[in-house]
């Protein structure tokens, strides 16, 4: 029999769950938990400068480790500041447990100081959430939060803990076992057999890999399937890295900013094998005209994704790694010379155009110069906007979890704190955050956290002093009426970095930018690498919103 407080119990349960790093910010309503955390010998706390930063640090850790990671925030504004990071985790299926302090139970509903209904606020943006009403409940709620975050399709879970529950003393006989993920759904062998028959019978099949392949650790199976059946393979933004981009069967990312040939190959397909993807509008364009001639096999762990946008001819609910394991022995080895020749023909005729890719002062050239200076061990994060799409198009991703980006929610401000989280989870790796001047300013305060932790994070700032993707769309789709997308002021990012105590280099002033870049990337510790880019360079090709994927402009 052991006596402890609710706060001490939470810390014990987190330790037993294997949590080793927590990002957060303390405040009045979560001080008992912080007091208990200060007594932990195994959990390291990283003090963020804004709770959204803490949320993205937890996400960065989780996207690298594949395990649920934890962030802390206090009640009221602390909790509401987490909201964007939680919603982002929901849209990209990232396992995360957010623990918030709440005003004491008797004060809930009284509009107390820093009281907000974070339970109610996070209902639509979490897999599940809890408002804990007694310390005893924590024995169930904490393991349950982890089980839910990592089972099936991963996602965020929020646990709101009133201050008096944190302080409440309880007697504990035995602590619950750490949570394990639920067993995967039972394999639908009949459907898997039908899928194999369809693949074997198809003439022009295409494999379409999404983030589910990364989450499930199914990249190896996906590559084997592609090679065994000679399947041209496209990846979503979230699926990049599942198959090496320079693999002969890779046809790159599909959708709004795909290479022209990729979308044309999909147009020709007679079978689409969708693995761990969800037919998102940015990937498929106008749904009715996507892969008009193809039968569809859809494999997903979330049953509500099957038939949601496109009706599948064979729908298989299951863990994609396990389904592919069962599918592979039934898939015949095929060479598909004619189809692969047709794909090559389209690739040669409508290739990915990357003008000035050898000039490190251009946007594609800068991305290539970064890739040339790094190996595949590096982790790449991005913010959101033009730079994100250029990196997605141009960076040679070759392994899962090499690429961390805010796909579903598209959150500017994601990149740098996520890079901090990635570096916390994998301190031996170099982490590069590609960012834009608009995005970087949205969580610029985390430079302080980065400096404090001294992590090996390099920020490559592609500065066009504007909200580039907004500027692009106003030019393309709003009669060139450019409004609220060009900044009039121009912050000096080199001095900002300096002010935070972070080294900075300016590629604009470098005589040999590629060399300066390589030096900056190989020096240990944080660094901001500044490069001006041309505002008039747009992301091409582009599928106009609402159009079919074959109606691309530019590129």
């Amino acid at each position: 029999m052991k006596q402890m407080t609710g706060a001490q119990l939470i810390v014990r349960l987190l330790e037993r769950q294997g949590v080793r790093t927590i990002a957060g910010i303390p405040g009045g309503a979560i001080l008992p938990l912080y007091d208990a955390l200060s007594g932990s010998d195994v959990i390291r706390h990283v003090l963020a400068r804004h709770e959204q930063g803490a949320g993205f640090m937890a996400q960065g850790m989780a996207r690298v480790s594949g395990r649920p990671e934890v962030c802390f925030a206090s009640s009221g504004p602390g909790a509401t500041n987490l909201v964007t990071a939680i919603a982002d985790a929901m849209l990209d299926s990232i396992p995360m447990v957010a623990i918030t302090g709440q005003v004491p139970l008797p004060m809930i509903g009284t509009d107390a100081f820093q009281e907000v209904d974070i339970y109610g606020i996070t209902v639509p943006i979490t897999k599940h959430n809890f408002l804990v009403r007694s310390a005893t409940e924590l024995l169930e709620v904490i393991p349950e939060a982890f089980r839910l975050a990592m089972s099936g399709r991963p996602g965020p879970v929020l646990v709101d803990v009133p201050k008096d529950v944190q302080n409440q003393l309880i007697e504990i006989e035995t602590l619950p076992e750490p949570a394990e993920p639920d067993p995967a759904p039972v394999l639908d062998l009949a459907a898997i057999e039908r899928a194999a028959e369809m693949i074997n019978a198809a003439e022009r099949p295409v494999l379409y890999l999404g983030g589910g392949v990364i989450h499930s650790g199914a990249s190896q199976q996906a590559v084997t399937l592609a090679e065994q059946a000679s399947l041209p393979t496209t990846m979503t933004l979230m699926g990049l890295g599942a198959l090496p981009l320079d693999h002969p069967l890779s046809i790159g990312m599909l959708g709004m900013h795909a290479a022209r040939y990729t979308n044309f190959v999909l147009e020709e397909a007679d079978l689409l094998i969708c693995v761990g993807a969800r037919f998102d509008d940015r990937a498929i364009g106008k749904a009715a005209q996507f892969c008009p001639n193809a039968n569809i096999i859809h494999i997903d762990v979330d049953p509500s994704e099957l038939h949601k946008i496109k009706t599948a001819h064979v729908a298989i609910n299951g863990d994609v790694a396990k389904v592919l394991d069962a599918l592979l022995p039934q898939v015949k080895v095929k060479l598909r010379d004619a189809w692969l020749a047709q794909v090559d023909g389209l690739r040669n005729r409508y290739p990915m155009e990357m003008p000035a890719r050898d000039d490190p002062r251009s946007h594609y050239g800068l991305i290539h110069a970064v890739a040339s200076a790094l190996d595949d061990e590096a982790i790449i994060t991005t913010d959101v906007g033009q730079h994100q799409m250029w990196v997605a198009q141009a960076y040679p991703f070759r392994r899962p979890r090499q690429w961390l980006t805010s796909g579903g929610l598209g959150t500017m401000g994601f990149g740098m704190p996520a890079a901090v989280g990635a570096a916390l989870a994998a301190p031996e790796r170099t982490v590069v955050c590609f960012s834009g001047d608009g995005s970087l300013l949205m969580n610029i305060q985390e430079l302080a956290t980065l400096a404090e932790e001294g992590l090996n994070v390099k920020i490559v700032l592609m500065n066009n002093n504007s909200l580039g993707l907004v500027y692009q769309q106003q030019n393309l789709f709003y009669g060139k009426r450019v409004f609220a997308s060009k900044y009039r002021g121009a912050p000096n990012f080199l001095r900002i970095a300096e002010g935070f105590g972070i080294a900075a280099v300016d590629l604009d002033a470098a005589a040999n930018p590629a060399e300066t870049l390589a030096q900056a990337l190989s020096a240990p510790g944080p660094c901001l690498i500044h490069a001006s880019i041309d505002r008039e360079q747009f992301v091409f090709p582009m599928v106009p919103p609402g159009a079919a994927n074959t109606e691309m402009i530019g590129g």
């Binding site: 339970y119 109610g120 209902v123 639509p124 897999k127 599940h128 959430n129 408002l131 009403r133 839910l148 509008d281 979330d302 049953p303 509500s304 038939h307 949601k308 598209g410 993707l469 769309q473 789709f477 919103p545 609402g546």
Partner: protein
């Protein structure tokens, strides 16, 4: 980024459907269910909830109009942690019919 361009929201059909949900009986369950319908712009015509005696469960009855999105709504309901089972009945189910006398 860019505005969402989609097909216009489908008008609800005229056929009514009764959904019967077995749920855990603890605070917050109703808010999870109502929020799910509200955020997906799916109208709920009628709602009824009572604890099932001598259990820690409740039963919720929902009256909705059938449309193409209903299957997706049921799949989403089944994903809610506190929803244990969802059963679908036709509009002839008597639960709301017998309640009508209280709504005149």
């Amino acid at each position: 980024m860019i505005e969402q361009v989609a097909e216009p929201l489908e008008q609800a059909g005229i056929t009514k459907v009764v959904l019967e949900l077995d749920v855990n009986n603890h605070p917050g369950v109703m808010s999870h269910i109502c929020n799910l319908f509200a955020r997906r712009a799916f109208n709920v015509e009628g709602i009824l909830c009572m604890p099932t005696p001598n259990t820690d469960r409740s039963r919720i009855w929902l009256l909705v109009f059938e449309d193409r999105r209903l299957e997706q709504m049921i799949l989403q309901l089944e994903k809610l942690v506190d929803v244990l089972a969802v059963r679908r009945h036709g509009a002839e189910h008597e639960v709301f019919v017998r309640l009508e006398q209280f709504f005149h």
